[in-house]
Amino acid sequence: MNKQLFMGVVAIILLIAVPFFFSLFYLNLLAEILILAIFALSLNVLVGYTGLVSLGHAAFFGIGAYASALLAKEWSPQFLLTLLASILAAAAAAAIIGLFCVKANGFYFLMLTLAFSQMIYSFVHQSTTITGGSNGLSGLPSPMLGPVDLSNPVFLYYSILFMFVIVYIVLGLIVKSPFGHVLIGIRENEMRMKAMGYNTALYKYIAFMIAGAIGGISGALYSSLNGFVSPNDVYWTMSGSVLIMVLIGGAGTMIGPVLGAAFIVVLETIVSSYTTVWTMIIGIIFILFVVFMPQGLVGFARMFQKLAIHRLLVSQKGAKSLVNNEANQ
């Protein structure tokens, strides 16, 4: 526990130090990773903790992005205001979509979420007067934090980092709480949870809203970072890539989706500078992960850790009781 806290503090300090040492290009890359990590963390509430595999999570990302963009463009570019509006809009959408989706399980849940997100995509794509249709919305005013202009990329980076840390801590607390354990129980065996007296549909609904609201945050940050939104942010491929991030990183863990987001963004950036068929390469990597490393990067790290501990124990004969500690969460 203390070790975790220590690692977290070190990570935050390193992230704060980044603007002093790296160029703007890397800063932007890192900002994008943090935003997509928030997005992946929100999906992980459903996929990793509640056991609901959604293929429509881009709906909330897109709603957050468009809500933020429209508000900034038409009314006020205040960062906190656009952020709040995005959260509310995404949560409201999740409240409606969730009503239908949490009645379904497994494959049907996946299809329903996909269908709803594609409905939202069609709406965004076709209502040109509001959303700009296939052109999206561009030329957004740069976000303001009170009187501070966040067009300065360092300030914007810090705002994004701040939101990331908040989301990570809040979700981290939730999944370890009694409420979070109910979600894990539903993932493991919903029927048993009902027999224990849990209204599982309600818990799934709440999880869906949490995931939606936080997905909205990531969308808002994304539009603030890029200065534009496009219908692609709502398209199902966006849902697919965030799902891949969660799975490659390690579903059902807190750090997994963050690693997954970083892995995919970095890979995309590197590979796409060499070849145009980078999606194929990502596809192959995903397949390799699913087949050989179903627990994702986190599973890989744990395996490595266990191996190291084992080696250590063998080399200093007689020590026995260390192994169980790390394997738990």
Partner: protein, 256 residues
């Protein structure tokens, strides 16, 4: 309705399409009664429990619990109200530890399931852990508290299954073949535990092992082909030749 009747079933039936599983079953259960339910395979015993526990809803008839109609109350609500069932096949949270399984029961019982921002651990939520420890000790499962359920033997899982039911502090406990698949020693152990259940707890038990059920029950119900064939004392059932014919005679093929 009599005052100490806790559960009253009025002419319930259940059919799936054209197949009638439960036919016009009526039953009154008094508080603290121990009822054994036997009958050949396919007689509708488990379906009857499904109807009582709310996993299925009857196609006709009514169910009253503590004087209130609960016919179409959903399963989780019935569990909250005190009608608790254990499953015929182990149906646990296999990837979690025995302790975690138990804590999930206790945290709802103690109204702590909706705490969001406080970690659930021995330091932050001590009452839950103290109670869990006490229960595990009483039930002789303390040694395996931190084992994942899927690593346990079938018999141990069965004990956890029953412990979870009891930890719910039910008013009516429905046990669906509690000793199925257990060794003789494990069966003896479970039966001893069941005898220690509080006297005011109403227990209904489906059981193929006739020694077990005659030992536990003070009232026997024989289900046959979806209706109540006999409702009487264990002695009456034991002495009834028709029962031997439909059940015990066939018992060998059933594999009791």
């Amino acid at each position: 309705m009599e005052k100490d009747v806790i559960l009253h079933v009025e002419r319930i039936s259940k059919h799936f399409g054209g197949l009638q599983i439960i036919k016009d079953v009526s039953l009154s259960v008094r508080k603290g009664e121990r009822i054994g339910i036997i009958g050949p395979n396919g007689a509708g015993k488990t379906t009857f429990f499904h109807l009582l526990a709310g996993d299925l809803f009857p196609t006709g008839g009514k169910i009253y619990y503590k004087g209130r109609e609960i016919t179409n109350m959903p399963d989780f609500k019935k569990a909250q109200e005190g009608i608790v069932r254990t499953f015929q096949k182990n149906n646990l949270l296999n990837e979690l530890t025995v302790l975690d399984n138990l804590l999930l029961v206790l945290q709802r019982k103690r109204g702590m399931a909706n705490v969001w921002f406080k970690p659930r651990n021995a330091r932050r939520t001590p009452p839950l852990f103290a109670e869990a420890e006490h229960l595990l000790e009483t039930w002789g499962l303390k040694d395996i508290a931190n084992e994942r359920v899927k690593t346990l033997s079938y018999g141990e899982q069965r004990q956890v299954e029953i412990l979870l039911g009891i930890a719910m502090e039910p008013d009516v406990l429905l046990l669906d073949e509690p000793t199925a698949g257990m060794s003789q020693a494990e069966t003896t152990y479970i039966v001893r535990l069941l005898h220690q259940l509080p006297k005011d707890l109403t227990v209904m038990v489906i059981e193929h092992d006739l020694d077990v059920v005659f030992g536990l029950a003070e009232r026997m119900i024989v289900l046959y082909d979806g209706y109540i064939f006999i409702d009487g004392t264990p002695d009456e059932v034991r002495g009834d030749e028709r029962v031997n014919e439909i059940y015990i005679g066939k018992g060998k093929t059933v594999g009791a």
